[in-house]
Amino acid sequence: MAKADIEILWTELEPGCVVTEPGSSKAYRTGDWRSFRPVLNKDRCIQCGLCWIFCPDMAYAQDGEGYYESNPEYCKGCGVCAKECPTNAIGMVEEEEPEL
């Protein structure tokens, strides 16, 4: 996994600012932008894959059983999956502040 952008010093940059590692933005977690999180109801899910194909953040991936689960590290909580789910198996639940 690549280093986060704040950990990279200017001295480590390649000449011409060429980025040599493909897909290194995975180090930047967009999950903390979220205020609502998608929750899957597996009883209603028909594994059609629409949530996966319509996700603009590439957060969905298939688990071992064939269900599509969103990755909380990258899901921005836009709600496209919940809206487009043909069986209403995905609901949006508000995120709560962690108790300190």
Binding site: V19, K26, G49, I53, P56, K76, G79
Partner: protein, 311 residues
Amino acid sequence: MSNVNVFAVKTLTQKEYFSSGHRACQGCGETLAVRLVHKALGRDVVVASATGCMEIVSSPLPLTSWEMPWIHVAFENAAAVATGVEAGLKALMRKGKIPNKKIHVVGMAGDGGTADIGLQALSGALERGHDFIYVCYDNEAYMNTGIQRSSSTPYCAATTTSPAGSVKPGQTTWKKNMPAIAAAHNIPYVATACPSYPMDLVEKVKKAAETPGPAYVHILSVCPTGWGMPGEDIIKFGRLAVETGAFPLYEIENGRYRITVDVPELLPIETYLKPQRRFRHITPEMTEIIAERVAKEWELLKRRVEFSALD
């Protein structure tokens, strides 16, 4: 909505060529379009990208979201750089310096980089007949710099440089018909697509890649920030744009027109316009003018389909 079309999505590759962690807004339609385009093209791709939203969100300096060679160039010369890459690869293969295989070269830009600033570079590239694909991600304004009007902004849409008020209805000109300009170069393949119809989009991009010679794909990318709608509605509005006839999906293969997502009866245009913030000021008279124009263009497109099937 053609369910058969949509439910085949599981047949697409699981591999992502555009990574998570990009900084696009919640529910960005353009990111979705980029993701689907590169799902269709696969691994052997070189991309030249003009300035725009996609450059900003995908490549903040030490990081990149791209899983393939990608170069950011100035606003006006994405097509010129793509053709240069294509010519360079051809020369290297001829001299045996790199293995001889098909590498797709893609030029990508937003509607500003295509219809306004990059038009002459694109026109030159299409005219010279390079074997490359040009993809225009059309979100109907300069969204990256804060929603300024472009020549691709539709009539009556309010943007920061075409505000709606008591005198002006917002944008006073009609949307530039970019696919028709590309088709006028007599190139082998021109298509319009929308990520709300993912299989249709993937099929068109694959066809564009297989076509020898230049291909132009114009993709409507719904922008929740600029259009003023919740991020969850991007797929719905893409579908409405097609079903009301505001953005018909068709392809032109060697001069032959074909409507790929047929709409037997167009929905009233208000269903698409009214819920958007950029159109919230429109009066019934303005709606009437837009509806008339949309119906006329839809009729014209159908005539072109009939006419081009004759020869």
